[in-house]
């Protein structure tokens, strides 16, 4: 699988989800952030600003939700789009990452209200790590 970050949309009657695959948990979380930007329909321009982000949660699944909600908040509060993510430390209850933000080349086409716990999945599979999450739009 190498450094591959693979994601695909999951259907939901009212909203939408993502299935994300990557070789390691750290790569999975970085890939999930990219999938969230794709879900919003946004494309980043040239990276302009870097932020260090640290998130804690009670367990690994909650950490994924909290991490993605943090990405969502960063984008909404700055009007920027996440362009690159480098996860510098990952444990099941804590993530530290360098996030590069860019003005949107293509702005989000729709608002994502929140990342939810609905059918949330985080698992190690024979092919690598897999996550599934759904957002409220």
């Amino acid at each position: 699988m190498g450094d591959a970050c693979v994601y695909e949309e999951l259907a939901h009657t009212a909203d939408v989800g993502m299935r994300v695959r990557a070789p390691t948990p750290a790569a999975l979380f970085a890939c999930a952030a990219r999938s969230l930007v794709a879900l919003a329909g946004a494309t980043p321009g040239e990276p302009a600003e870097q932020r260090q982000v640290s998130v804690e949660a009670v367990d690994a699944e909650s950490l994924l939700v909290e991490w993605l909600n943090e990405v969502l908040y960063l984008c909404e509060s700055t009007g920027a789009v996440v362009a690159e993510v480098l996860v510098t430390a990952w444990r099941p209850t804590n993530i530290v990452a360098e996030v590069r933000l860019a003005p949107p080349a293509i702005p989000p086409r729709g608002a994502i209200k929140a990342v939810t716990y609905h059918r949330l999945r985080l698992a190690e599979t024979p092919e690598g790590w897999l996550a599934e999450y759904y957002v409220d739009v």
């Binding site: 949309e9 259907a11 939901h12 009657t13 009212a14 909203d15 939408v16 919003a40 329909g41 949660a57 009670v58 699944e61 909650s62 939700v65 909290e66 909600n69 908040y73 909404e76 509060s77 009007g79 702005p107 989000p108 086409r109 729709g110 608002a111 209200k113 929140a114 990342v115 939810t116 716990y117 609905h118 949330l120 759904y134 409220d136 739009v137």
Partner: protein, 483 residues
Amino acid sequence: MITKQDLRLLAADLWEIPAGFRRDMRVPARIYASEELLDHALEDLSLQQLVNAATLPGVVAYTLAMPDIHQGYGFPVGGVAAMAVPDGVISPGAIGYDINCGVRLLAADLDVEQAAPYLDELADTLDRNCPSGTGRGGRIRLNDADLDAVLAEGARWCLRHDLATEHDLAHTEEGGCMAGANPARVSPRARDRARDQLGTLGAGNHFLEVDRVAQVHDPAIAAAYGLREGQIVVLIHCGSRGLGHQICTDYVRDFQQVVQRYGISLPDRELVCAPLSAPEARAYIEAMHCAANFAFANRQTLAALVRESFSRVFARRGLPAALRQVYDVAHNMGKMEEHQVNGKRMRVCVHRKGATRAFGPGSPEIPADYRPYGQPVLVPGSMGTASYVLAGTEHAMAVSFGSTCHGAGRMLSRTAAKRQIHGEQLRKQLTNQGIHVRAGSMAGLAEEAPFAYKSVDEVVAVVDRAGLARIVARLEPLLVVKG
């Protein structure tokens, strides 16, 4: 997977999943639906979520699904559950991320023939004046003091800033202000998201619509609500924006630990909750009321912008431009109310997520001029079909905690809708139907295609037959503004 064999028919359009269906159910789950709508509900996780809600501590009587039900997160959209006070729980996920998402109806003293030549200009003016879509802030930037005041006072804040009238407030659910809102319970992050969002529609299924009253079904009630055939009316559908989303996010996160603290086990983490007697529940309720107040103020501010737009287009031509507020309803809320449960009057916390309060005639919560007729219920359909004005009933008070449906209800995913039609193609179709469309995003427009929704006619026919509300008038769209 729940199948039709798991349900029993209690009466016409009323089905039940008995409490014995799953060992952890505390009460049965009831569904108001025709055969066709029930088949739609069985296609996704709606009924499983309704059964999951029936396991919540303190739930009384039964959980309820309205005919527009579809799967949500933890709790279905179109779901109602009442929890005993103080022994039950409150669940932020069972109220929803868009706290006090709701609908406002304004009525003009203008007929469709008078307005028709100017609808294109009106569409442009409304689109310019009423910000919609992502990343588009409003005209008002709230400082800390004003934000606190909006969170505490709701639409009353608008009255002090010439954005509302006393009539508007009297004709808004809760008078446009939930008591007991405490801005100190709102996180800095939620406050940040609110600062420039007052008076904005947002995106998704939110919209602003100019309709004509196509058909009056109940002339007496329509007259009391000030509605007549051929009349121009405005529907505004939106909620508490980023503030409400963040408050729900914050408390769903915090309650993950709260359920462990109180030893509550749940079938779905999105249903996390707190005992109503616990300080954590009080904190959420006080924050949720802040979001509700922001939503009331948001729809009120948008109403002021719509009035300004009508004035700009019609007043200068000597046409009547005034817009009288018919009513404003919430359809994502948790409310402390008194209801008859198993023959006993009791205080309950009614969770309505994608469901509308529908109090019957005589209820003191209804404005005096509507009290003999029941509370107006506003049911937006999909673009290009129809919306309805209904009236609450005594029967709803007896069987559904004074609740009814909230819309048409989705049946097709956004992904599937986009696969079937392009936004530009849909815009042309709607234009050919005589509907003026202004949309910020063509992909967003395609996601909201009418065929992605159930028939609103069928949904309201069910609630009418079941006595959960009475059909008063049918509205048809002339103009739609979307994010």
